[in-house]
Amino acid sequence: MHELSIAQALVEQVEEVAAKAHALSVVRVVIAVGPLSGVDADALGSLFPLVAEGTAAAGAELAVQTVAIRTKCRTCGHEAEADATFAACTQCGSSDAELKAGRELMIQTIELEIDER
């Protein structure tokens, strides 16, 4: 359950951004999670509101964008989406692939409510 550590790190960063912008509240946080990040997005989604309670991030919606695994074949250079078992290259049959995407664990955007008066 390292999602708790992840949720805490996420809330800390959201708090920093909210404080810097003197936000009234945080409306929405969008994160990108790759299948090879080792993070269960559902568990993170359940923990986020609990960790956010009592902080500037309280009540914020957490939206998770799933990132596809992408590999590049080292033999023929073909780039393709892959599943986590890394099947052989559909173009040349080689199984020597380089991971291009899939480990992401990123904050994409944070929507803040700002006092304009």
């Binding site: 960063q13 480990r103 944070i110």
Partner: protein, 269 residues
């Protein structure tokens, strides 16, 4: 010798996978977006909010674990400056990390000055097992956390890895999932897999096995008693990590230990 994991194999004969050997952490870490936030720009959506306030979207593109990664980079820089090679040993509980380390410290005694940081939820049993073998050992009790983090390791570095230490083993908490998400500042990860666990674990747990350039198959003395195929296991490892460098050994019988120890010596040369 391979410049990345130092395995002594002609780099032309085995590929390591650019992404892991470039160490994802530092590579992404130096990405300017991650820390300077130059992309912060705001989109007013005044119509959706009350007259006195408005909603703004801040674009961050920042790693969630950026604080851990920053500390990991500090650890990496410290280790490099002190001439220490660090490996992060990750496996399920009971795969034989501590026993392998016991035999490894004995085998490297007088050859390479080593140190160990070992992590468990509770007890200092592992640290006590590893004491008295010529290497400083520190235990991290994580209490409930299922992984080590860069801060825990960084705190211990000055007291444990100074004074001529060349090789630091970080024995992570036994867990095939969580530790792989946390960069500790190591040079690279080594995944251990015992023969009692089943040969398809690499494809079941690709997060770890795809990020470790070196894999160690432990308890090989038991293989003949089990319905376990080394060929199938090697194939599963290569499927998620083409070019992975694989050791087969038994710390108990000594099978394969010489190659392992020679490899570790080479890492420090």
């Amino acid at each position: 010798m391979c410049k990345d994991c130092g395995c002594g194999i002609d780099p032309n004969l085995h590929s390591h996978g650019g992404y892991a050997h470039s160490h994802e952490g530092p590579k992404e870490h130096t990405h300017p977006d991650a820390h300077e936030h130059p992309h912060v720009h705001e989109h007013p959506h005044a119509s959706a909010a009350p007259a006195e306030s408005e909603t703004r979207t801040v674009e961050l593109q920042q790693k969630i674990l950026s604080r851990n990664d920053e500390q990991a980079e500090k650890n990496r820089a410290w280790l490099k400056a002190h001439g220490v090679t660090a490996v992060n040993l990750i496996s399920s509980p009971g795969a034989g990390k501590t026993y392998l380390l016991e035999r490894t410290l004995e085998g490297l005694r007088g050859r390479v000055p080593c140190a160990v940081i070992t992590g468990d939820l509770r007890t200092d049993n592992d640290a006590r097992r590893l004491q008295g073998k010529g290497a400083p050992v520190r235990q991290i009790e994580t209490i409930n956390a299922c992984h080590l983090n860069a801060e825990q390791v960084g705190r211990l570095l000055p007291e444990i890895a100074d004074h001529g230490i060349r090789l630091l083993f970080i024995e992570n908490v036994g867990n095939l999932v969580c530790p792989s998400a946390f960069d500790l500042g190591e040079n690279f990860k080594i995944a251990l897999l015992s023969t009692t666990e089943g040969e398809d674990k690499p494809v079941k747990y690709p997060t770890l096995f795809s990020s470790a350039p070196v894999a160690v198959l432990t308890k090989m003395d038991l293989a003949e008693h089990l319905d376990w195929s080394v060929a199938a296991c090697r194939s599963a490892l290569r499927q998620v990590r083409p070019g992975v460098f694989i050791f087969e050994l038994s710390a108990k019988t000594g099978l394969g230990m010489d190659a392992w120890l020679d490899y570790l010596v080479k890492l420090t040369e």
